[in-house]
């Protein structure tokens, strides 16, 4: 199949059996690849009610048709599973070089099934696939472990590895790769850890089949030229995602002290030019990327190397914790990466704990003796490690803010900032209704990657609640994640503003199948509805209550900053949902109707 590796690799960790099957043409036709394969295999093969940490859950790792090709951003790998954090759908997208290697090894997806009785790593070298003993690696941080695998097998091997966080099954443990990339959210690392898979180590030297090589070379070069001609390429390379830090602070989107405000009075120490000057050494990119957003850094204060911090980490481990020193944030980033836990969820958990402490709901007796005021850098460093080891106070935080606040009670759930149990990423949404709706309806929980609409909110009116805003969020949700389905990165389109039709010429030439963006968006719509049905199937009584955001965004106006005194009304939260369900063709309670499912050819799959 042109554009594909060709095979699905299944690894049964309980029995040790390893099998390969042809990548199904009809699944490739209807779900394309990447996140689409993840959603399909998740719904079809993980039985209803499966324990996310049990043998029936699967970790589905997929590349897409873009992966490993000469297309800007051809380096994203999807990790899909039933989430131990939320109990629903989890999909995390990891950059770097892993996805390309999957294709070069003649594969499209790797599906981990069952549970191993002892620590193993999956070794893939072209057609040679083996489960090997991982006891000498188990317990190691991700940085040391990846270094060891590379020294043993060679630089041409790509490594995806968990740290102590995944080994200890922290709800938001992540999977790490290439010394700085993660499949971050939803606990995909916990699933890999409970299955006792320390790492996947892969090398491939096969060529990826292409339908029309000449047309592909022309189209690929045209995409690179468009990126190189983009007027803000240099600025994007210089700052990466940190380019928005100062602006988010200015418009009230920078999460500050557990999202109690959207501006941080000490934020200047976190801004992009300060970071660039103080710590950045290399602009590090993913496979095929002409606009490397990775800011590989060295902190002189702490002497450590880390890729980042990216904007999300600056928000959640910086301003959200009242920390204004970019070097401290870089160090916290490194500690989280090495431990293998998601910086966004960890920052939320620690921020929640700090608010509990400041309100006197938790005292230093509860917090292992830490004086857990906002701004406490040393406590933040220590807690990251404790969360990864589920040690002391870290054990409570390792379950995520929803469960932690349920356990503590005393009204702490009012400031547990999450949707569906997934902690909110780094945009404060006190008064930005499209972005708030984006967080409410994102298919994995409160994450921004599906739909980012903050400038749009500012353009048309922050507090406006109109059908056009809802339509915009829906369009973004159908379109943006298509890059995850294709196994590539959206940021060249998103940040550099290159013409999206340039991708069509390249993808047509690679796959030999003509699709325009309407066709791709329909696939996006199909996946969106399928994953919604997964939530409905797995969560008893799943309905619109699970789309309601944290009360912080409809009850507590910030007392300072750009959004001082501004808050969304709960009536508007419900109006947004009413319009959203209507435009999606869902019931008033937020479930896809049978007509909607039929129109997307999903009736049989979800029967």
């Amino acid at each position: 199949m042109n554009g594909y590796g060709g095979k699905i690799l299944r690894v049964n960790l309980t029995t040790g059996k390893i099998t390969k099957e042809q990548t199904p043409i009809d699944v490739a036709r209807d779900f394309i690849g990447g996140r689409g394969f993840g959603a399909y295999f998740l719904y079809k093969e993980v039985p209803r009610g499966a324990d996310p940490l049990g043998p029936d859950n699967k970790l589905i790792i997929s590349s897409g048709p873009m992966s490993g090709l000469m297309i800007p951003g051809a380096g994203k790998c999807d990790f899909t599973t039933k989430s131990p954090l939320t109990g629903g759908y989890a999909s995390a997208s990891m950059g770097g070089h892993f996805t390309a290697e999957i294709k070069y090894a003649g594969l499209d997806s790797i599906i981990l099934e069952g549970i191993s009785s002892k620590p193993v790593f999956l070794f893939i070298d072209n057609d040679r696939v083996e489960l090997r003993d991982a006891s000498e690696y188990w317990g190691k941080g991700t940085i040391a472990a990846e270094k060891q695998f590379k020294e043993k097998f060679g630089e041409e091997f790509q490594v995806a590895v968990i740290g102590p966080g995944g080994e200890n099954v922290v709800s938001y443990a992540c999977i790490n790769h290439d010394f700085g990339r993660q499949a971050g959210r939803g606990g995909v690392g916990a699933v890999m850890g409970v299955k006792k898979v320390k790492a996947i180590v892969i090398h491939g030297s096969k060529s990826i089949p292409v339908a029309d090589v000449n047309a592909y070379r022309v189209a690929g070069k045209a995409l690179y030229k468009a990126c190189k001609d983009a007027s803000f390429l240099q600025e994007w390379i210089r700052y990466g995602t940190t380019v928005v830090t100062s602006w988010c602070d200015e418009v009230g989107a920078l999460p500050t002290r557990n999202f109690s405000a959207g501006s941080f009075e000490d934020g200047k120490g976190l801004y992009a030019p300060v970071m660039r000057e103080k710590i950045v050494i290399t602009d590090k990119g993913c496979f095929g990327c002409p606009s490397p957003c990775g800011k590989y850094s060295r902190s002189k204060k702490y002497g450590s190397y880390v890729e980042g911090p990216e904007y999300e980490t600056i928000g959640l481990l910086g301003s959200n914790l009242g920390i204004s020193d970019i070097e401290a944030v870089a160090q916290a980033n490194l500690l989280a990466d090495d431990a293998g836990i998601d910086t966004i969820s960890a920052g939320n958990a620690i921020g929640w704990a700090m608010e509990c402490y400041e309100k006197g709901i938790l005292t230093s007796k509860d917090t292992d003796g830490y004086d857990l005021h906002f701004g406490n850098i040393e406590a933040t460093f220590d807690l990251i490690g404790k969360i990864a080891r589920k040690e002391g106070f870290g054990a409570l935080l390792a379950d995520g803010v929803k469960k932690a606040s349920q356990k503590i009670g005393k009204g702490t759930d009012k400031f547990a900032i999450h949707v569906k149990g997934m902690e909110q990423s780094a945009y404060a949404t006190h008064n930005a209704t499209a972005m708030l709706l984006a967080y409410m309806t994102c298919d994995v929980g409160a994450h921004h990657n599906r739909s980012w609409a903050i400038t749009y909110d500012l353009q048309v009116g922050r507090d406006l609640v109109v059908p056009e805003k809802v339509a915009r969020v829906i369009w973004l949700q159908n379109f943006r994640p298509m890059f995850d389905v294709l196994g590539g990165c959206r940021l060249q389109w998103v940040e550099l503003g290159i013409e999206r039709d340039l991708y069509i010429a390249a993808l047509d030439a690679i796959t030999g199948i003509h699709r325009d963006w309407n066709d791709y968006e329909m696939v996006g719509d199909r996946i969106w509805n399928l994953t919604r049905m997964f939530w409905a199937r797995e969560i008893d009584g799943f309905d619109r209550r699970y789309d309601i955001p944290s009360p912080r965004f409809y009850e507590e106006a910030p007392e300072s900053g750009a959004t001082k005194g501004q808050i969304t009304k709960i009536e508007d939260v419900h109006r947004l949902l009413d319009m959203y369900y209507e435009q999606r063709g869902w019931s008033k309670n937020g479930l896809p109707t049978s007509e909607r499912l039929a129109s997307l050819n999903l009736s049989e799959l979800v029967a």
Binding site: A230, S231, F232, Q234, E235, Y239, T241, V243, V244, S246, W247, E250, V251, A272, P273, Y311, E312, H448, N449, W452, A453, I454, T455, Y456, L458, Q459, R490, L491, W493, V494, E495, G497
Partner: protein, 74 residues
Amino acid sequence: MTAIIQTSSGLKSYLDGKGEFEVIAGRTVFDTLVDLNIKPELIALVVVAGEQKSKDYVIQENDIVKVMAVIGGG
């Protein structure tokens, strides 16, 4: 005394499809954006000669001022 404003692609609709506009120097970036009917709060980044400037920066003669809106986001 004139200078040039260059905008990121998402802002072209504000400048009749153009990406570049000649402006009078000597005024702040903020005021100049207001005159161009671009809401200053939409602009995430202001760069002059490779350096980030705030919106209070006073535009000098012959400056090329790049203003970027983050349309697509993260």
